[in-house]
Symmetry: C2
Subunit: 373 residues, 2 copies
Amino acid sequence: MTAPTDHTDATDPAQVDQAQSNGNLSQGRTLISVDAMGGDEGPAAVVAGCSLSAKINPDIAFILHGDEAQLAPLVQRDPHLGGRCDIRHASGVVSMDDKPSHVVRTGKDTSMWATVESVRSGESAVAVSCGNTGALMAISTIRLRKLPGVNRPAIAVLYPSANKNGFNVMLDVGADIRADAEDLLRFALMGASYARNGMDLKKPRVGLLNVGTEEHKGRAELKEAYDLIRAQEMEVGYDFVGFVEGGDISGDKVDVIVTDGFTGNVAIKTGEGTAKLVGLRLREAFKYSVLSKLASLLAYTSLRRLSVKIDPRRVNGGVFLGLNGTVVKSHGSADATGVSAAIKLAAQLAQNQFNERLAARIAATLPVEESPE
Amino acid sequence: MTAPTDHTDATDPAQVDQAQSNGNLSQGRTLISVDAMGGDEGPAAVVAGCSLSAKINPDIAFILHGDEAQLAPLVQRDPHLGGRCDIRHASGVVSMDDKPSHVVRTGKDTSMWATVESVRSGESAVAVSCGNTGALMAISTIRLRKLPGVNRPAIAVLYPSANKNGFNVMLDVGADIRADAEDLLRFALMGASYARNGMDLKKPRVGLLNVGTEEHKGRAELKEAYDLIRAQEMEVGYDFVGFVEGGDISGDKVDVIVTDGFTGNVAIKTGEGTAKLVGLRLREAFKYSVLSKLASLLAYTSLRRLSVKIDPRRVNGGVFLGLNGTVVKSHGSADATGVSAAIKLAAQLAQNQFNERLAARIAATLPVEESPE
């Protein structure tokens, strides 16, 4: 730990922070509840991410959950978090290996639990955590509860694509390993709503992931979901392009990819892994000869531009959809840039009142349901 | 059409070819049955691919199925196919849009049917087609029939990876959209056998694709398959590393990835699409400025080396496993290089007597089955 910085009286930094009431903290700002303990990089990376965000966005403030003894000095010496970050002590930490069912039973003292609780109580507008995805989804589902009409919540991510926006929305990528036709319809509604509010797309193009684009292909629940999603097209105002294939996830044919959490999870991890392999081979190629080393020096800015463009940290954040409250799951290995990207997304969704709109959309489609369940 | 070349009397090129009996054709060579009509690029690309292979490999010869009027001049003017390529006329062509069930009922006159039939009769050692995958699998299953003990055949591909070999074997990637625990065990046996005979790996590392590596994760059939594959580990002589995730497909943790055909199909298409997107962004980055254009010139050989290394055409060929005979499915859009890669793979498998070994392996594991079905 370094010495306290001189911009504040830090005889007891934690108490100085705690003394700032939420009233002072918010002042019309969007309050973001952050789990400081969950990520692989530890609380320092999370606090650094909050600091980055605070510097750029004056309209947000933080409630930081975790070990006060570790957090207070980090917050105290930060130049951007003064008066905009409240620390709430939580003694427990959810580890990456903890089983969700175990955390739900015994994890009330954890920073993750407190982070979600802060959204449930209405104190914060949105929650952000880098921690164990399964545990975060379990706590969020139990504490926030599912929106009326939603049977399975979903995790949506932004996947790099050849789209004008540079990204598709893809869901579910792992909230649940199953999804029936009705779930897939909800995913389409939630994904379209997310694309509308998170990506400013008026009429998002929605595709249902399958092993071929012909209508006769695929599992029975996919054919059923196809009809359900088609039936809502006019009412909800998306453009249903029908079945799409794995190659369309990174293409420019759709804005929203709908699939079950098993397939979606395998797909994004396969894509990430493949991109990593291409990067590895690219570096090898540039190390091959003196000439190629020289080329790589000249190409440095180009390659840097490329890596910024496809840097997963810059679109870091899976959003939990279908709950009474918004929860953003940041990558476990997120550094300050990654955490900051997740916070940016969380702030945007909160400020757009995304979840209220989504709830209204789901509710509006309930009466017109025509599925042969 | 160009004039006939002068290395042969070509008053009736088709008859000249037809006159060469199979006895002359084989002469101890491995006979490969090729569907000349199936691919997007037409018969010229297929014949050019055969020619490329014939030039490199003196131990192979071809039986080419398709429209004689189109094929004869192509073969006739080729410098490498003389005396090593027999044309068998077939009037029908399976299109990419034909439904497999329709082809099975009405497609007996097609080049694809004849290509498979040539393996069934024992005339050819292996079949190669660039055509409609579903139709090829349907014809192959009906004519060659499944190996005893195999309920679902599978399509295996080589996927680029950080492995020493540069590739993993992945199956099933789309023969069937379903697979139960017993099927997944067979896939593990077949994939290990393929890695042993196609990639010279003595003790292949086998992984079962899931959404996490913890044993408690995933669908019920995956947990059951986990136990079945574990139980055969010593007997069959592979190294079962347990559950793997999407990111491991391109990693160096396993040599064989086992999954159902739905997930596998989405995964390889997602990976291909992502690699394509990275390539697109890379080209954009290099076009950005004068300096980056100069860099791209200098980097030309490096980038060329990279694209050769990850060129899907060079490992072109899905292999149908679990049938009484080997069928290699080349990419529909394969050019001469792609077709030649598929032929190389087909020849290697035939010369290793892969299918006989695989059948023996499956048969050997039948008595020790302990699954609670």
